[in-house]
């Protein structure tokens, strides 16, 4: 099938999903307005002490973490609704009567999830913090970069899980784990593997092990835990995004983590492999 026809099919499915996103958008707007109203006095107080804004590691991390959590969980919920929802309700039985393949469905649902997540989280993130942007306290373009990076990292994580589910389905000839399920696991896994959270987890484990010996962790054990967390964090697309942002904002110099290249290659392999095998999937896997 020609790529134009394929894009038309995908866009048709995306349009259908977007037509039903009105109520969540309204709900997010109300929540964002409420938070903005509550944060208004804090923003006004900050504006009385004007200082030139500068990014530090300690300021980038929490904002990126907030945006990552917001976009990640919204991605997972939205994709579960638009992709898993079609399977749960059985309406996918109608869609598969048309010349679509598993990749078209995956692209359409990823596209729907991306657009809906972007709209909802942008309203929440920028709406809630609007007083700080309106008063010129925080640089809105920098925050937009953070938000888009978190959105991109979540999208990569979700896509990896979705296309890996195609690989598993191809070899098992049935859905072993649903694209929505594996995509969600990849988003959660990517969040847990960020340096911030991986550090916390590694330190907690070190502490528990030490307490079982009725001791506290030694400095060597603590350093080893941190080194382990830094090593595994290269697997997370959120970590890649954070590295790019920190370099862009002049916090850390470029380079220093060659393992990221291997991690990116593995992710691409999973996505491309899932795409190739997804073309061969018989679509009754979604209805059995």
């Amino acid at each position: 099938m020609e790529w134009r026809e394929r894009l038309t099919l995908i866009w048709t499915m995306v349009r259908k999903d977007l037509a039903h996103a009105g109520i969540p958008i309204l709900a997010c707007a109300v929540v964002a307005a409420t938070i903005a109203f509550l944060l208004g006095p804090a923003a006004l107080a900050s504006s009385r002490f004007p200082t030139a804004f500068r990014w530090f590691d300690s300021s980038l991390r929490p904002f990126f973490a907030i945006s990552a959590a917001l976009t990640g969980f919204t991605f997972a919920i939205t994709f579960y609704e638009v992709h898993g929802g079609e399977i749960r309700s059985g309406t996918i039985r109608s869609i598969i009567l048309y010349p679509v393949d598993a990749n078209d469905i995956a692209f359409a649902k990823l596209g729907s999830a991306l657009v809906i997540t972007f709209i909802l989280t942008t309203i929440l993130f920028f709406g809630a913090l609007a007083p700080f942007f309106a008063l010129g306290i925080w640089p809105v373009l920098d925050f937009l970069a953070i938000h888009l990076m978190a959105l991109g990292a979540g999208f990569v994580s979700l896509s990896t899980g979705v296309f890996l589910a195609h690989v598993l389905a191809h070899y098992a000839k049935r859905i072993v784990i649903s694209p929505a399920g594996l995509g969600t696991l990849f988003i959660i896994g990517s969040m847990l593997l960020t340096e911030l959270i991986a550090n916390g987890i590694a330190f907690q484990i070190t502490l528990l092990l030490a307490r079982s010996r009725d001791q506290f962790p030694t400095p060597e054990e603590t350093r080893a835990a941190l080194a382990f967390a830094q090593t595994v964090s290269v697997l997370s697309p959120y970590h890649w995004g954070a590295r790019i942002l920190s370099q862009g904002f002049g916090i850390f110099p470029a380079g220093g983590e060659p393992l990221i290249a291997i991690s990116v290659a593995l992710t691409l392999l999973a996505i491309v492999g899932g795409f190739i095998l997804g073309k061969k999937l018989y679509l009754d896997i979604f209805t059995r």
Partner: protein, 314 residues
């Protein structure tokens, strides 16, 4: 040929749904696939539409090799499966517009096509209703509208007339016949064999996953049924006496003016008319009483073995 399938086999964990099924569907014909529940009709449709992978065998559907491009074959198909699960929250017009776009109609033509299909199925007055609020018959008509929107060469229709009232059935038969007359073909399954005789050109009977007979109604009746006729005459007594001379299996009186006769060979039918003329009995009507339901019963009786179909395909 729009469909050429050979040796299609599909086994599920608890049953063999298709057992070396081979069939051919020509352009411009309505091909009926009949069999009891669980015989493999729906699996056959699912395999031919590239939705279910066969364990063995292959098919070329509308020029597309199923195994090579299972998902591409549906560009040429309009598919209606039994028990459709439409989007209950969508309005009828919204639903049909979505599927018209999915069928690949140019955006400028979508609205026009949707209106055409709604008029054809007499559901235009329902266009603002949500699917979940439609009656079963209205839903079925909406599903048929969805199928007819497809720029298809072959329609795969699983029980298309279920839940549809008699007037609409008659109208739908006309719609489908008109569609076939424009060069399309239909693969059709139903449990209603009597009704099917008004629309089906060729029949295939499937039993326990195997095609046990293929042919036109006439071919199948001639092959599988004893030639039986109901005769309406002016004088039953004289007619009975005259018909005693015709080689027959059974001869009995029916209602007033009616006689039932089962012949040894279909070619003996001419002898019946001749005998009545010679006995100076007026023959008012003579009709074959073997129906496709009799054919079905003959084919699907327990213990019935494999029968080589008259058409040469099996």
């Amino acid at each position: 040929m729009l469909v050429q399938a050979s040796g299609l086999t599909k086994t599920y964990p608890k049953a063999r749904a298709l057992d070396h099924v081979s069939l051919e569907i020509r352009e411009g014909e309505v091909f009926g696939l009949f069999g009891p529940n669980g015989a493999g009709k729906t699996t056959c449709l699912r395999v031919l539409s590239g939705i279910t992978q066969p364990d063995a065998g292959d098919a070329v559907v509308c020029g597309v090799h199923l195994r090579a491009a299972p998902n591409d074959v549906r560009r040429h198909l309009g598919i209606l499966f039994d028990l459709p699960t439409p989007y209950e929250g969508m309005r009828v017009s919204e639903y049909l517009t979505f599927f018209a776009r999915l069928s690949g109609h140019p955006p400028a033509e979508v609205r026009e096509r949707v209106l055409w299909a709604m008029d054809l199925l007499v559901i235009r007055h329902l266009q603002e209703n949500r699917i979940g609020r439609l009656s079963m018959g209205e839903r079925q008509r909406t599903e048929l509208a969805r199928v007819l929107l497809s720029p298809a060469r072959l329609l795969l229709l699983d029980e298309p007339f279920s839940n549809v009232d008699v007037d609409m059935r008659i109208a739908l038969r006309g719609v489908l016949r008109a569609w076939v007359s424009r060069g399309g073909s239909i693969l059709f399954t139903s449990h209603n064999l009597i009704e099917s005789e008004a629309i089906v050109d060729r029949y295939a009977f499937i039993h326990l996953g195997r095609i046990v007979a293929v042919g036109t109604a006439r071919e199948l009746k001639e092959t599988l049924l004893a030639p039986a006729f109901q005769i309406e005459v002016t004088d039953v007594d004289r007619a009975m006496a005259a018909l005693e001379k015709v080689p027959h299996q059974t001869l009995s009186r029916g209602g007033p003016g009616l006689i039932h006769i089962g012949l040894l060979a279909r070619s003996d039918a001419a002898k019946v008319a001749r005998a009545l003329v010679e006995a100076d009995v007026d023959l008012l009507e003579m009709k074959s009483v073997g129906t496709m339901e009799d054919v079905y019963a003959r084919l699907t009786r327990a213990g019935y073995g494999f029968l080589a179909p008259p058409g040469g395909t099996s």
